[in-house]
């Protein structure tokens, strides 16, 4: 196996297009151990062997990749080193200060540019570091969990590409019965015309409690293939927020899965504000009895944005509860797709599962497709699903205007009210305020 010893800058310049060589270079630039290069190369093979999504694939019938072409992008970004707090872009500084965190990591151009710990996590054995560092400092943990259990490289074309070229990412490890009080915050600001492959790998051991917020920004004229892996050991409690607010020129592919042990408690908030196109695969994988999983989504595409969420609530074992609620508003010519399945395997009795998708259509040219589904192979279960698409009720607008609200205020209030059912369940107040601001911004434009 050859390892190139070159300056990262040179390496990128040498990179033309995506190839096995690109993968070697990506690994070399990070000065990685051989096992990771190996993993990447195998993933590259998988990537090459998997066909590109076709409109005839059930998963891609409503979301077309027309005009998406890898050749338009630099395969990976070149990190520029770390910065001081006062050198940070105001956008990033703002994102950083929006929230009280236990610790924050800030990524840009394929690397960490800033990090801070507001609380002593190490003392408690908590690991919150960027994944590249974790590969070197905690190889046994990363080898054990990185794309082995929750999301495997061959899950889809984009997870394979991700595994081959992953760059930024956070590794979070919370030991047994340890509680991280304030959220852990990771902010990614992706650069222009480049591929990005952000990873979140969270391992919450038995009885651990942690809240993690991923803030995804930038990605002008870029594409991003994110992977989120949440691994909850028995009795762990996790609150996870993935807040995607990319530029409207970004292609965004997200695959996330939560592997849930016995008596675990997860609330996952998936927010998809940005991107020109998003295709997200999100799974709750209930593997231990007594698991409680909530998957809550918010989206608000405007202009020509296209946002597609595809979810799976997989009940493998008895006595689990899963609740899914995705609410979205749509403006202009925007389009949303929601596809979801509650799958109850044989023997998973006493499953209690909900799945709801609501759409508020603000313009007649916007369109929301909603395809809920059930696959139930156990007989003693309670599973319900519902999908709605509605417009802003004139009578609501009139009522509020008769109280003195202007029409835009009234409409904003109604739209926000519609999304409130999800906002009400966002566990971090500063995140709620941030989301409210985006909603207000989206309504007014």
């Amino acid at each position: 196996m050859t390892v190139l010893i070159k300056e990262p800058k040179e390496i990128v310049e040498a990179t033309a297009g995506f190839s096995q060589e690109t993968v070697r270079q990506a690994s070399a630039a990070k000065d990685e151990p051989a096992w990771m290069l190996d993993l990447r190369l195998r993933a590259w093979q998988t990537f090459e062997s998997l066909p590109w999504p076709k409109p005839t694939d059930e998963d891609w019938r409503r979301t077309r990749l027309t005009s998406f072409n890898l050749d338009n992008y630099t395969p990976f970004a070149t990190p520029g080193g770390t910065l001081g707090l006062d050198e940070l872009d105001p956008i990033l500084l703002n994102a950083l200060d929006e929230m009280d965190s236990s610790a924050s990591l800030l990524y840009r151009d394929g690397g960490v540019i800033y990090s801070r710990e507001n609380q002593d996590l190490k003392q408690q054995g908590i690991i919150f570091t960027d994944l590249q560092t974790a590969v070197k400092q905690h190889p046994e943990l990363v080898r054990r969990y990185f794309m082995t259990e929750a999301v495997k490289p061959d899950a889809n074309k984009f997870t394979a590409l991700h595994a081959a070229l992953w760059d930024t990412g956070s590794f979070i490890f919370v030991p047994s019965n340890t509680k991280v009080v304030l959220p852990l915050q990771a902010i990614l600001y992706q650069g222009e015309r480049v591929g990005g492959y952000h990873h979140t790998l969270l391992v919450a051991e038995e009885g651990a409690e942690v809240t993690v917020v991923d803030d995804l920004l930038g990605a002008k004229n870029s594409f991003q293939a994110t992977v989120v892996e949440l691994i909850l050991k028995d009795n762990a409690q996790v609150r996870y927020m993935n807040l995607q607010d990319f530029e409207h020129t970004a292609w965004n592919f997200l695959t996330g899965s939560a592997v849930m042990g016995k008596d675990t408690d997860l609330r996952w908030i998936q927010v998809s504000w940005g991107s020109r196109l998003t295709k997200a695969f999100l799974d709750l994988d209930m593997r231990g009895e007594g698991g409680h999983g909530e998957l809550l989504g918010l989206y608000f595409p405007t202009r020509r944005q296209h946002i597609d969420h595809q979810t799976l609530q997989l009940h493998r074992v008895p006595n689990c509860f899963s609740d899914l609620l995705f609410n979205g508003a749509l403006k202009h010519r925007a389009r949303s797709v929601y596809m979801g399945i509650i799958k109850v395997l044989p023997g998973a009795q006493k499953t209690d599962a909900f799945q709801r998708n609501g759409n508020l259509i603000l313009d007649s040219s916007a369109r929301a497709d909603s395809i809920p589904g059930l696959e139930i192979e156990a007989d003693d279960v309670r599973c319900t699903h519902a999908a709605t698409a509605a417009q802003v009720e004139d009578e609501y607008v009139f009522y509020l205007m008769a109280r003195g609200l202007t029409r835009p205020q009234a409409e904003r209030m109604i739209v926000q009210g519609f999304l409130q059912k999800v906002l009400d369940r966002v566990p971090v107040e500063s995140v709620v305020h941030k989301l409210e601001k985006v909603i207000a911004r989206k309504i007014s434009r």
């Binding site: 009720e393 004139d394 009578e395 609501y396 009139f398 009522y399 509020l400 205007m401 008769a402 109280r403 003195g404 609200l405 202007t406 029409r407 835009p408 205020q409 009234a410 904003r412 209030m413 109604i414 926000q416 009210g417 519609f418 999304l419 409130q420 059912k421 906002l423 009400d424 409210e436 601001k437 207000a440 309504i443 007014s444």
Partner: protein
Amino acid sequence: MSTLAIQNLHVAIGDTEILKGVDLTLHSGEIHAMMGPNGSGKSTLSYVVAGHPHYKVTQGDILLDGESILDMEADERARTGIFLAFQYPVSIPGVSVANFLRTAVSNVRGYTTKEADSNANGVIGSNLMPMREFRRELNTKMKEFNVDSSFARRYLNEGFSGGEKKRTEVLQMAMLEPKFAILDESDSGLDIDALQVVSDGINKLATEDRGFLLITHYQRILNFVKPDYVSIFFGGRIVKTGGPEVAHMLEERGYNWVEEELVAGIVPA
């Protein structure tokens, strides 16, 4: 001292004329009760005064202190001091009473400046009455109008009982302090205690600088709230106006005699 003058008002929905020449003048300091059979057009009249966009005014005018309000949108009318307590208040998912009422009160009282108005799409929380001040006032008024304090946080009318909805409407009136309030059956569906509370509320708000149009089917609220005038609304217009005795007459005789008198030409057709 203000005047709300409804003059020869004709209103249609599509091709159907519903209001057929309503004439009614309200002055501040007065309570004008209006009774009329189901479907006669009372709620339509309230909606039109409040500025509902679905109704077409085909003739006539509505003047507030001599100025026509017909070209104003509902929110402008609210800001000039017109209030409607809805017969059937809607419930709006996810919108809490405190939340929209703070914006409403801020607009109506002028916390929202002209610039802020053009910026009405901006961040929630700008140009609003200070939260603490608003809360304090809301709490006081909730106590006064016997509305449980939990209602402030609850979503508007979601899961409210009929009576709770009506009381919340009156609470909103108390917060918005209008010049003219139209109460469309605010007494319907109230139990005896709630009727007392709502009536007390109206009486408290019935000051010299405020006028009321009290739409009701029942004489009983008029035992608590003393009207200066009682009008009978029939077939899309007012056919008779008098004192409280008119309400008693209706209570005793129903509406048949009105129709008979109409046919006989005793009241003008």
